[in-house]
Assembly symmetry: C2
Homo-oligomer: 369 residues x 2
């Protein structure tokens, strides 16, 4: 008989799970949520975690229970998944354009408290038209480029122009600014990072003043990441922070933010040990991403992941041969980028005390429309 | 109302499809299948295409209709998907280890003509034991390392030793050798490639002779890729070729093998044009992979994709500003690696004459167990 994907039962020891598998350590995960929520608890700035990190409704609902004001999404299709799961306040932090998506955006605006980012006038026309047909209205943030050179208009007058334009549509509301300092979140030196972030925010402060002066205050100013949450979270003009990675972490973010610990790992099996000092594991590019560098074997300080092919990872061990690592045994790997790693899996195996306690669907995996 | 993912109907113009979308040009796809099948039609060597490229039963069934002897898979979970779709002859070209997977392997062996690669004795014990419990038997290939330094034993005596060991199990059959020259398939110069491949095959020829001499002839010798099909397909000792990429192609394989044309592309939408000469598209790392280098805009010779973030691609245009490219318009991108790109999508939009003709599920996407 052709078997189906097996669903392991709660209580299963972690090392009995089939591999590659994406593991979430519940204790560390909960501590990360508590630490970030704690930071924002006494602040006027709110936390609106970016759900691109986890793509998982169970995670979003826990973030909101702990105090987050809602979530950030990248795409309409992601927002739909979270809305269906009961998330009521969603920012789509990207431009949404083209008939199919704009229609879905307008429909979704009738169901949840929704905001979307724009950076050009023609986009407002299509969104307003779709909202008119759907009988809904939508809150709009103007995206400002602080130097990341992605989307967004220049600070200052272009923002005011777009804010005025938004106000000319009866079914659109100007709600503020989105400005993400993504080019600065991974600066390793904390002082350099703080200094560059402060510099980058100056034109944004001026933009906020300009809007205020013209009677169009930005009620929301949204940006920030895990690398900069303690800057964006306290510096004007921000009042919402989109940090996402803190909940799972990875080797890249951990170097910057050691106060959050990695809760996410990939369980893999040693397939082969062709020569002493070299292991081949069953986790390759379909199980681990590497745009931020190669992932790291956990608790094996002398072992280095040196290559990923599609289905295989090669681990080399230098002088320390570690003869106890034999084919069939399991190795855990710390991803270098949690957000793209979750996009490779359908489920998270939630573990505590080395046993499976739950399986959470990564329901927004693959939602790139 | 929260909408569901929309399913476009046949006849929809390609440029009306929502993006990012994975497109398959049926005319080019069929020509690629015919060209490769044509090459093998008069040969004694058989084609057993690697299904990791497409992960799609509709593609596999077309390859078999055109003459392929079966398919190659990387994982048991992939093989299960293709077996359910009616593929009857499958090689799992990797080591399968650990109770959950070995049990599934043994069960599947009762349903289809199945082979698996091994490179160590202990793996034979667990496979034989699982087959005993399932009441099945299995054909085994010994994997040989020709210099790729992944899995596999050295040529010569180690292969004979494992072949003998296989014969000691009543429910396992020694069926031959797998030896993939993966480190040589992307050598650009055809003469250098041919020379290195011929050199790499010498120890394999000797291994085949050694097996023959000891009464254990390798009835199957399997290897080869799109870059080397015309070498592996005619040189001894091979009699099966696992080429996969030829069916879709990508910018990397097209440099090596221009006789196959790219049938796969990613349709994306221009989201923003923040400054002259720079476009931001809605296809990032969740829509395109880049381990073989950044993908290429199609039919825009002066445009270069210069950066991928998770949801965005940045295209720069140098001196030629191409003012006709405006936000909302569509751009097609040629992936640099077709196999990992298909792993990011749930469906293939099959197109002919610029219209949608079918939607094929990438049913084995994400099957990494």
């Amino acid at each position: 008989m052709i078997q189906s994907r097996m669903i392991p039962t709660p209580g299963t020891p972690v090392n009995d799970l089939d591999t590659p598998a994406l593991l979430l350590d519940l204790d560390i995960f909960e501590a990360n949520i508590e630490r970030m929520s704690g930071f924002f608890r006494e602040k006027t700035c709110r936390l609106r975690p970016h759900a691109k990190t986890h793509k998982c409704p169970q995670v979003a609902l826990r973030q909101i229970s702990a105090g987050a004001c809602g979530i950030t999404c990248a795409k309409v299709s992601e927002a739909e998944v979270f809305a269906r799961a009961g998330v009521q306040d969603i920012l789509i932090a990207n431009q949404v354009t083209g008939q199919p998506k704009v229609n879905r955006l307008a429909a979704l605006a009738g169901e949840v408290n929704l905001m979307v980012a724009i950076d050009r006038e023609a986009n407002l026309n299509e969104i307003s038209q779709a909202c008119k047909l759907a009988g809904t209205s939508l809150r709009i943030l103007v995206e400002v480029d602080l130097g990341m050179q992605r989307c967004g208009v220049e600070p200052g007058q272009p923002v005011l122009n777009l804010a005025r334009k938004i106000c000319s549509f009866s079914n659109l509301t100007f709600s503020g600014i989105q400005a993400y300092e993504g080019h600065l979140v991974f600066i390793k030196d904390p002082e350099e990072r703080a200094e560059k972030v402060k510099q980058a925010f100056i034109p944004l402060v001026e933009t906020a003043a300009l809007l205020e002066k013209h009677g169009l205050p930005a009620s929301i100013v949204s940006g920030g990441g895990t690398g900069t949450y303690d800057l964006t979270g306290v510096l004007p003009p921000y009042n919402e922070v989109q940090a996402g990675s803190y909940v799972f972490m990875d080797s890249t973010n951990y170097q910057i933010r050691p106060e959050f610990r990695p809760s996410l790992s990939v369980l893999s099996t040693i397939l082969s040990r062709p020569v002493p000092g070299r292991l081949i594991i069953d986790a390759g590019m379909k199980a681990l991403t590497h745009e931020f560098g190669l992932p790291t074997p956990i608790d094996l300080p002398n072992a280095k992941l040196t290559r990923l092919s599609e289905e295989h990872g090669r681990i080399e061990m230098g002088d320390d041969d570690m003869p106890h690592l034999r084919p069939g045994e399991k190795i855990r790997i710390l991803p270098s980028h949690c957000c793209t790693t979750t996009n490779l899996y359908d489920v998270l195996y939630v573990i505590r005390d080395e046993r499976l306690v739950d399986i959470w669907e990564i329901a927004a995996r693959g939602c790139n429309q």
